[in-house]
Structures are given as C-alpha cells and as structure tokens.
Symmetry: D3
C-alpha cells in the first residue's frame, strides 16, 4: 500500500491497522516548505481521504529540531511571483491564483474525511500553525516553540491561521497578541489557551500518545467517526440551526449503517467490534 | 400552579418566587431517556417559556448516580425506526423526520425565554451533553463523569452536542478529542475548558448554589434578563454587525419598560425592586 | 500633531514614534460617559484610522479609581430619550436611531485600521466592557473590577458586549453567568477565561507594558499589521472558507508591498527595518 | 381519511389519488381569517406533510367573490392584543410571541413536504399574498384582484409577503411599488411579473387546471418530488455552494430509492410507474 | 426648510406635503458626477432620512439630455488617486478607502428611511445605474438610454450596480449580457426585465407620475411605510427565516402605533387620516 | 494551441482572437453525457480559466438535434454506483463523493474566470440546464426544447439546476412548475422568464450571434471583464453589503491596471485599445 504514497519530502507509513503516519521529511532545512511540498501534501491527504484502509492519521516532522520552520523564505524570494510585472492588476491576478492554490493544498487536510492528529515539537513557526490548525487534534512536546511569524516578514498570514485560530482557542485578545507581535510562545501557553489539547515531555512521548489516540479512533465505527468530523467542521462555521438541519439529513442515511448494531452488541458482549471498510 | 406540570418522568417544583426546578425522574434507569421523556421535556419548557410566574429555571437529575446516562439504548433498539424498510430512501425520510423532532424537543430549552441552569452530577453521558448544552449555565458536582458517547454506539451525535459544544468551550482541539474518542472526562477538565462554569464538592452543594444563582437572576428585571438571553444566543450564531442591528431593534421596544426607572431608583435607594410579571 | 486631537474629555498623546495614547479623562466622575464623550471617541478613532503617523494605539482611563464606571446614568436619565411620547412606535424609532448611533461610535474602535490595546484598571463596568471588547488586545491591572452591569439597571446591554464577548472568551456558560447575574469579577477570573491576555500588578505597570507592546507592533510593517487586524476581524464573523477567499483577494494587492523585501532583508542583516508611511 | 381533517372553516377533500384539496370556507365573510383559522390551517398542513396518502395539494377559496380578503380586521381590532398594557416593553413581548406564532402557521405550508398549488380568484388581499407566497405554485383566474393591503391599515406586513415576494418575482422596483402603495393589481400584471405562473378565464377553469397539475405531480416519484421542493426552498435562501453541498448529502440517501429503477423502466416500457407510499 | 438643503449641484424642493424632490443639477455636463457631488448627495439623503417633514422622495436629473452621464471621467482622471505611488500595496490602501467612501455615499439612499423614487430620462450611464438601483422604485421616460458603462473604461463597476442589479431584475443572463458588453439599452428593454416598473412618454410625464406616486406614499402612515422599506431591504439579503424573525421584533414595537387605529377608522369612515410626524 | 485541448467528445477551437469555442461532440447520442465527458469538461474549463490567450468562450452542441439530451441514462444505469452494497450508509458515502465530484465538474464553468456563453438548440434536457446555468449568458435557437427531466427518472436534480435556476429567472412559481412537472417548454417561454436572454431563428444564427457577442466581450479589458464576472457571481450569493466590501478590496488592486488609461484614451481617440494578456 505504501508504494502509492512515495514522495520525496514525506514519509507515509502505516504503523497500525487503519492508522497512517505522515512525516514531513526535510529535516536538514528544519522541514521548511517549498512549493513541491504543499502540492504533495495535498495529494497525500486527498488520497488518504478516500483510502478504505485508513481511518485516522498522525502528522509529524522529521528530526529533533522542528515540526516545520514554515515557508522556505529563501526559495520563496526567488520565485517568479515576486518578479512583479509592470501592471499591479496583472500581478495581483497571478498572486491571487497562487494564494488560492496554496490555501487549497492546506485545506486538503481539513477536507480529508478522516481525523488528523498533529504532533508538534521544536520550531513550529508560520506554516506550522496554518497546517496544524487544519488538523483536528493538536498535541505537542514540551520543547515546542510556536510563532505566527508572518508580520515579521511583512505580510498578513493568508493560508489559514488567521481564519482558523480565532475559532480554535479561548481568547481573541490572546489571538491578536500573538498574531500582531509575532512573538514566540511555548507549549504551556499553547496548552492554556487550548491551541493544543495536551503537552508531553518529549517528542517521542508525544508521538507515542498521538499514535495511541489515532489507534483508539481507528477502532471505532468509521461511519460514526467520519460523520463526527464532518459535522463538527460544518457546525463551527454556521449557526446552531443550520448545523442541526444538515446533521439530520446526514444521519438520515448514516443511521442505516449496520455498525450501530455491531457497536451496541459489542458493548453488551464486551467484545471488540469489527467494522466494514468505508 | 404545579398541577399544570405533572409528568411521569419529571418533577416540576417552584422552590422560590419566580424559580422553577425541573428534575429528571427515572433514577432506577440512571435517568436514561425514552421517547416520551423528550416529548414531555419539550412540553415543559415550552410552557415555562411563557409562564409569567417563572423567571429562571434549574434542571437536575434525580438520585445519586446520574444526571442522565443518555438515551435508553435498549428501548431505542426496539423502536420501529430501526426496522428498516426495503427502500433506504423511505427509511431515510422516516429517520430525518424523527431526528428533526428530537432536535426540536431539546432545542425547546434554548428557545425557552427564561435562563436555564443545568446542575450535573454522576453519570452524564450522551444526551446529558446535548441537553445541558441547550441550557444557559452549566454547574456540576465534583463527582460528574462526562462522555460524548455517541461514536461508541456507531453514530455521530445529532441532537445538538456537535453544534453547540464548539461554540461553548475554549479549545476546538479538545472538542474533537472528546467527540472522536468518546473518552470519559471529569469535572475538573470540564471546568478548565469552560464547559461548566463552576464545580462544587457534592450534588447537594451544586444544587444549592444553582438555586441561589437562579434566585439572583429571578430577582432582576425580566425584561432585561430575557433580552440578554435572546441577544446572546442570537449573536453567538451571527456576525457582530448582525447582532448589533438586531439588538437595536429589540431594545427600541424594551428600553420603554418602566423596569429601568424602578431598577435605577432601587439602586439609589438601596431597596429591592419589584418588577411586573412578563 | 496633537493639536488636531483636542477634546475636553480625552487626552491624546504620542508617547513614541507611531504610537498614540488615548486617555479617557473625566476622573472626578470615574470616567463615566456622557453623550459628547462617545461622539468624541468616535471622532478620535476615525481620525487615527487614517493618520499615517500612527500605527498602534493604547487606550486607558485617567486617575486611580476607574477605567470607566460606564454610562453616566444620572445624565442619561435626564435625557430627552426617556421622555416617552404617547406613541410607543415613534418612541421606538427615536430609540433605535439613538442606539445605532451609539453602537457606531463604539464600533469605530473596531473599524480603526490600527491595532488598539485597552489597559484597564479599577472600576470597569458596563461601557468599559463594550469599549474594551471593541479593542484588539486587553491588558489589565490586578486591581480591576469588571461588571456587565446592564441587567441591574433594567436593560439588556446593546452597545456591543453581548455581541463580542461570546466570540472573545473561553466559555459560553461563564458569559451567561456574568451577563445574567451582573456580578463583579476580578482580574484573575478575567485572565482565566481569556477576556484579558495578561494581568499586571499595578496600573502603572500595565500601562508601561501596554505601551511597550504598542511599540513592538508599531515597529512592524504597517501593511502586515493592518492586514492582520482586518483579516482576523473579518474571519471571526464568517466561515473559514469565506475568510480564506477574502484574504486571498486582500493579499493579492498587499503582497506587492516593498515592506516584504525590507523585512526579509532586515531579518537577514539583523537590522531594524524602516517602513514607509501608510 | 377525510374525517381526520374536519375543521369548521376548511373543507379538505381528496379529489384524486394522492391529491388533497384544501378549501378556505368562510365565503360569507370573503374568507377573511380569524385566529382559529390560521391555527387550523397550520394543523392541516402539518398533518398533510406526513400523510402517506397525499403527494400534492391544491388550496382554493370557497365562493365566487374571494380567495380571501385577508385578516378579519374587525375581529382583530377586538383582540386583547390591541388592549395595550401600560408598559410598552411588556406589550411588545406579547405582540412578538403572537406574530411569531402567526408566522409559523403560515410557514407550515412552506414546510409541508408536499408541493402546494394555490389557485386564486376574486378578492385576494393581504393574507392572500402571505399565504399563497408560502405555496409552491400560484395559478389564478382572470378575475383576481390582488393587493398588499397592509400599509393601508397602518402596518408593515409581517406574516411573510415582504420576505417571500422579493424572491418570487421579477422586479424589485415593482415589489416596492405594490408594497408601498397598496394599490390593487390584476391577474395580467401578476402574470407579467411572475407572481403567478398562469392565468385562466374563470375560477372553475383555474381550479380544473390546478387539480390537473396536482395530478401530474402526484403521479411522479414522491422521493423525487419532495426532494425537489426541499432543495429548491433550501437553495433560494443560501449561496449556490451551500445549496450544492446540502443536495449532495440529501441525495446520498435518496438516490438509493427503488423509484429510480421503476421510473426508468416505465420510461422505456411506456407504462405508468407505481411508487410506494412515503 | 429648504435653506437647510442648499448645495451647488442639487436642487432640493418640497413640491407637496411630506414630499421632497432632489434634482441633480449640472446639466451643462450631462449631470456627470464629481467628488463633491456624491459627498453632497450623501449629506442630503442622510438628512432627509430623519427629517420629520419628509415621507417620500423623488430624484431626477436637470435638463433634457441626461439623468446623469455617470462619473465625470475627465475630472476623475486628474484625481490624485490615479497618481500611483511606487508601492502598489499603499496605493491599494488609498483606493480601498476611497471606494468604500464612495459606496457609502451611494448607499445613503438605500439607508434613507423614506422611500425614494428615481425618475430617469435621456442618458443614464454608469453611476446612473448605481444611484437608481439604491432607490426603491425606478420609473423612466421612453427616451432613456441606459448603459452599464464601466467595462468600457477598463474597470468592474464597484459602487453598487453589480451588487444590486442581480437582485432587482428578472434574468441573470440579461444582467451579465449588459454588464459584460456595456451595450446601450432602452426604456422598453428596461421595463421588460423589471429594472423600471413603468415607462412614460416624456420626462415631464414621468416626473408628474413620480411625484403623484410619491404623494400617494406620503399620505400613508409613515410607521407602516418606513417599516415596509426597512423590512423589504433586510429580507432581500437574507433567508426567509431570518427576515421573518427580524420583522417580528420590528413590529413588536411598531404595532403599538396609534396610526393603526387611525388608519382603520379612516377606512371605515372614508376619511383621510392624519398621521403624526415621525 | 488547440493541441492542448484534444478530447474525444469535445471540439475546442479558437474562431477569433481571444475567443474559444467548445463544442460537445457526441451527436449520434444526442450529446448525452457519460462520466468521461464531465471530467473532460472540467479539465477544459479549468485550463481555459488561466489561458492568457482566451478572454471569452462559447459552448454549443454538435449536430442539429440536441445541445444535450442530458445524462446518458443507459450508461449510468450500468454504473457500479447503482450496485448497492448491503449497508446504506456506505452506499451513501460512495454516492455523496460521486455527486460532489460531478457538481465540481459542472461548477468549473462558473469558476472559469472568463465569461461563458451557452448557445442552446434542439433537445436540451436535464444536464443541459445544469450546464448552461453554470454559464454566464444563455442564447438559444427557436427550436430549443427544454426540460428539467430529473423527477421523471425518480430523483431531485443535484448537479446545479435547483440551486442556480431560482437565482437566474423571473418567477419562483414558474421554477417550481417546471421542476416539479418535468414538462417540456420552448424557446419563447424560456425567453419570457429570462432563462435565456435572446432567441434566434436557427442554430446557425444563434451561434453566429453568440460568437459575435463573445468577440465583443473579448475586445474589452480582461481586467474589467473578469472582475465583472467574479463580482456578479459573488454578489448573487451574498448580501449587498458583503458584495460591496469584497468589490472594494478587489478593485483596490484592479484599478491600478493600465487598461483604464488605455481604455479612456481609446475612447477619446476613437481607436481600438489593445490590452495586455492576463
């Protein structure tokens, strides 16, 4: 199965039944992203989304130093995008197309039908936030240093952090503090505001717990789990009333699954249910 | 007055002026819900909503063991809804109508014009969350064990938890963790993420404090209190701009109340104001 | 420059390059607001919004006792608005126009293109919340006593607190608790729910840190900083998808700034960049 | 079956298989509505909505003179609602509850899962528009005289006309003309702007054609027909993107109907398909 | 009264009780707009909005040749806005502020609480559409030549035509045809698609009928008329459900007007009601 | 250039400068669609969207008999999608993914940045409506027979007709009539309700006029034309206020184009402007 997921800068492995592990793999550059990488990231998650052998996913960064240091600024500064044409309107058109494509690549994680757990450690700047905020659950090692770095290089973040962060954490005042100052903050602070839901002593421990949680989720009915992800994301962005209506239509089909009977029976019999592929 | 509120599985009492107490009363089954119960719950709160003798409401579960263990799964599994017809589209129609009706019953608490305080204790699973998230304020005893149980029985929750939880607490990562893993969590964790606003040592203490808070709210102008509930719920689901516009139209009538003069005068004279019924 | 900002009840000074300081100055009345004051507040922030010499703003209250005690209730009670005409519909029209105008004055802070840091201390009631919630970052002294006072004078708050608070803090249960009970809460509680992002020992210390943060923000690219404020506020009120699309169009122009090159170069050279006025 | 639908002011009959005919029956008062009537109207359509023996509905007015002259103003003027209490805020609360209940009664037609065809004739004022705009298809006799009468009795229409008319017809300028002037307009004008989709020479002819159309619709797959009504109403009120997403989830269940095979087979064999009840 | 409305390029007169007439008055330049004109237009309509002596408004263009030929392109091309700075991001900021201000000036007509009737004739290009689409009712002389001219000068219209036209007329295909081709179309075509609600033989006749309609509207209850305008505009932009809820809150105050009794009584007594100022 | 656009069932040609012509080419099957065709359609329009040599597009159907008869029902009925698995929830997941992909293919026309003109003739059923409603302008030959055929094969249309039709034409009553009855209607009726904006005597004439209109549009500034399409589609789906704000940000970049100067100069000099590629 893994052959289908060969990419230069990503290791995709399957450490347990129904669990995929995606590792960002450019450690010599602190896992900084070049364009090819986000295109590949999107391809991987689009494929995992419909892969019946996968029910939950963990994403990590290779090496000890960084989840990712963000965009590879040096590479970006040599891109043709910054070679402005004489007409700012035409340059704007090129830039808009580019930003929308980049956004779509990161949003592929959110659109992936299976839950995705980000396990962060070390340097986690810029794109590290965009990317992990598109994941469902965020865990981190105590060594993690976060920064929403974009204002320090002269731009407003445009790949998702400014959209998803205010809906992910406790305090809008804190959101503006870290987005406007670009200051570095640590794992404990991230935990207190709810950016991550747990902090572990080391990268190894965080990964182990991340994989354990992925295993737990993978053991549940995929109909139930994938419906829960879909409905939570849908409802975050809409009124309670809209969310309820959509869920009713969704479950009108999904409650017809035989997983419900299997799950209830297993509950009574204290056995482990086996659910069909989805 | 209480005669109007006689139901087999609910005790409705009036422990103080303008305060109603609704007790879920099926303790021998851990207050698990059968269909009749949610229909009655809706009837009770629809009636309390317009009852001029009521200004705030406390909801609790009878017995020491549970607020509610959720849906009575055994009863549900015998329901005709799970006797699928041969045509999945027709089954879906029946299920959709059923889910929408069930949702409306729980939403009757949110639509009730008076503030509702949920006091939770012991087992508080599944429907316990749907129900208490439709309340305005959540308090709990230190014994409370919460779980968003639905994925464990093979479905995505569809009666309100997945819609209201992301807008009620601090961390979207935590929301997905507990919704996708169905793990049990305790009172302290609920407090830290803001699901409840206070934890008390025992059910008795939590109830006493819940009733005290209900009494405080009932002593205020009902025009002010009910407007505050309405506007907060409206604004949660819409942009700040939409919220402001609606509030301006709302208060164009409500600022004409004589409660304002009474309240200000009482404030100056250090007396307790008496407000007309609403 | 300061001459342009002369107002009876506000001191506007410029304590550092690109930093403005707006002080509410009616300390003998605990900085309580009369109509002239909110009209002036709006004029000040509308002007600061486009002033190229300003990149960040701190707002504080004069004196030791209060940020502001809120609306000057005595003055309000003598206003012609409370002299009801015989026709409640015509009175409602007058009131609606008045509320909308008052809302617009407070929203002028949110619409101001530059980040605004509120530093609160002492009595911070009613309008103190409306006003500081329209700011971007809230800091406070440990002495601060907050209260959403409106239900105590017989009305639902209508100038912004009920719209912005549920989107600014961690817990909807806590929001309803403090809005419905009008109880006083302190700096620590405000910090725990995320209403403020830091608490300092004294007003002096809080102000010093507020100005320091304002200075940090003012040292960044104004294109990046103002884009970040705009996009965060836009995205708070809309779906992630809507936020992403708007940001792509916004940045299609903004990424053409030369600030990006200057910022990157300064980063490499460890120098302090100088950005053109905006 | 008809016994279940006995109401003083409505005749409910079943002129053809799967077709219901609801006749407003107070001809001596030009079918003007008193409160009991809109409560009954709601009860009838709520019941028809889930009645498996009904697939389409025609609504008409008894007698030669009027579909309905609208609200029975004389009865309304004696209602307790107009006996204002001394407190305009409390009166407003009573009025708001009343308006919402009245709106819900009329919206019961729109929420009815089966298509409803209004056949108008003669005097069709005020509520005639509110009511028929909640229907799916409007036909009329050439004798029909329409008027959005509300401004002539001192109020803005509040039961649905002002919400649904701008989304139902061709010209917003025309909508404002007839709503602000309350002028009477005829069948031809209604046809030109698209308010009705066809005009017939007489009430009898219009009714006959209305029943024929109802018969045609009743002969189709109820899964297809009711899905079409639901999706059109949902999409009218939302963006194309939202509409598409909802429809995909809806049809994920509905395309599993065996009606599709039956319909296709009948199409090939030139036979009349028989669809199961829904 | 008229003294308050003195402007160089507008004649504001009061041809009948409660009726205002605003005439664009720069006929030697085909009533083309320079910046001062749209600022004045906004000032006029903002003032008329709250002027108790005005209940309906007619807007026309002076001279025989044009309602308005649109933006004075020559003046615009000399504006400092087109003197691009070296930084496209800073230029964009200036342009955005400018467009938003210009939009607000035109939207002042839509936000004016009183109905506005546009009577068009002759050349009606570009801004003529933006402006008249912000009006409530559009009438025109048979001589009117319309064009959505903007693509011919290299831009997408940004002052309101592209927002309001699709919601004002019959055919989205026609909207795109005229917006993308910038072709000139006549009064009959405008009438057929519903852009105008009536065509008259001459400017004089159109004006006479416009004033007559304004008089009719001005004779009605201003509570009813202004509520109708507000609710129609609100509902155009939102779902039917949102519109109904807002209207219920609006009318909770407005149905308390004594205009209702006066209007009903006058109806019965066949007299002309006199309504208090608003 | 044309080599890049080689597809079995589509002819893509470039009949004039900047004009592309896409011909559906399966005339022996009345241009009925099989899956490969909508995948190719999407690929073509996605490519045309960014192709700098194309500024407007015409889409037609090959042969005399049909624009398209819709979905190839025979092929569809043999698809694996209709081989239902034993679990309706898993079948629903497969169907939902399939519908969303199909919708995205058709929406690629709407998302294409260049205006698309559909020229219809002959049989134009089902998918013919979905497809042409995603185009910007619809023209047709007098021979065209339209039908929204889906209810006749037992389903609610789910590829766009039910979303876009209510926002494209004059009468919601007419929309429901044709969607619920699946009746065939002709070119004149389509013209009267605004579904098409013009009818021509023959397919040849319609195509000639379609190409002429495409040529006119292609001669304008592509910055202006593509901005107009984008803003019209955006605004159709949102409130006027949201539309205005987005347009202001859009034009902040786009008004910096040199096309404006070129267009104005050409206007004054009566020359034909040449605009750079976009």
């Amino acid at each position: 199965m893994a052959e289908a997921y060969k990419y230069e800068y990503f290791n995709v492995t399957f450490p347990a039944e129904y669990v995929a592990h995606v590792e960002i793999n450019r450690p010599e550059k602190l896992n900084a992203f070049i364009e090819q990488m986000w295109l590949n990231l999107s391809a991987i998650f689009t494929r995992l989304s419909h892969d019946p052998n996968v029910r939950s996913i963990v994403i990590t960064g290779a090496g000890d130093r960084a989840f990712t240091a963000g965009l590879d600024v040096q590479a970006a500064s040599q891109s043709s995008l910054t070679q402005n044409a004489e007409d700012p309107a035409r340059t704007a058109t090129t830039l808009r197309r580019h930003i929308l494509e980049f956004q779509n690549c990161i949003s592929a994680i959110e659109k992936c039908e299976k839950p995705v757990i980000a396990v962060l450690h070390g340097t986690s700047y810029g794109l590290a936030l965009d990317l992990s905020l598109a994941c469902d659950i965020r865990l981190c090692a105590s060594t993690t240093r976060f920064s929403i770095k974009e204002v320090d290089i002269g731009l407003a973040a445009d790949i998702g952090t400014l959209q998803r962060l205010p809906k992910a954490v406790a305090s809008f005042s804190w959101v503006k503090d870290v987005c406007l100052s670009a200051r570095i903050f640590g794992a404990e602070e991230a935990n207190q505001v709810g950016l991550v839901s747990r902090v572990y002593g080391s990268k190894a421990e965080a990964m182990q717990e991340g994989l354990k949680l992925a295993g737990t989720i993978a053991s549940k009915s995929p109909v139930a789990v994938q419906g829960t992800k879909e409905v939570l994301n849908y409802s975050r962005d809409r009124s309670v009333e809209e969310g309820l209506r959509y869920t009713a239509v969704w479950n009108a089909a999904m409650l017809q699954t035989k997983d419900m009977k299997d799950a209830m029976l297993s509950g009574l019999q204290k056995t482990t249910p086996k659910f069909s592929k989805l």
